[in-house]
Symmetry: C2
Amino acid sequence: MALPNGPVTASSEAEAVLFDLVDVYDRAYEAAAAELSLSPAQACLLGRLDERRGMSALAEELGCDASNITQIVARLEALGLVTREPNPRDRRVRLVTRTPQGDEINHRFAAAFTFARTAVERLSPDEQNQLTALLRKALS
Amino acid sequence: MALPNGPVTASSEAEAVLFDLVDVYDRAYEAAAAELSLSPAQACLLGRLDERRGMSALAEELGCDASNITQIVARLEALGLVTREPNPRDRRVRLVTRTPQGDEINHRFAAAFTFARTAVERLSPDEQNQLTALLRKALS
DNA sequence: ATAGATACTTGAGTCCATCAAGCAATCGTT
DNA sequence: AACGATTGCTTGATGGACTCAAGTATCTAT
């Protein structure tokens, strides 16, 4: 389990609840990945492959170094969840695609990561809209 | 930068905003730590030392293995931010304490991690209460 | 006094992450 | 068409976080 990203001292109740949320969310994500023997990074990457993508596109999207993607994709490939095919239109690019097995695992991961969904579902539709509006404002 | 913990597909707008929040929060935490040349785990641990604690207390509080704490504390000690003193009442225990320098760094980290604070401050007091209530309900 | 629990460390192994260096393919310019 | 620069990716090295298994020292309970 990754250590939580807690504030040193919360300056308000809202801030404390925010921290709780982030912590529980991250742990739930990690736990869901672990159920399928994936690391969070692997689960994340697998989830971004609804369309095939080049490695640098993934690196940019995920905000990390390309060589990091190389490693993670290599492990996913070794697990049979992903393939790397050359792009005929630009032979520098290697297109990453989920295998059928990768689709299956990705689907099961989506089912296992219930946290965000069930949290939202504890709220009425009205409350969901309020929450969305408040968070959007807080994030702006 | 750690890869984000995004849901495979968001089932609602609220869920998508939740994910955004977590992602931005985590990145801000990491960036604040990086400003002080700390890893997120180091910043987190340093923040838990307002009172001195034994290693296993820290491990339990943070939800990880004791040997992980040993390592992180060793690095913080090498940086001069923390000391390990034997507990005279139980010589198995090694009490971890922030040094004055550790206090200073911890204080600067708290100042650097503005994300949660400023996000909350974009809301009126009323809205802050609403948000707190909604998140509490969602987390229950 | 001894057996068992507790606190911590060490060592080995995996993964994530970053940086520097390198190769191959493409692009832009002339 | 050819050259240099850029782009896409990989490799190798390094470091931190994390886990597990094994080990030592101390404490507790009987």
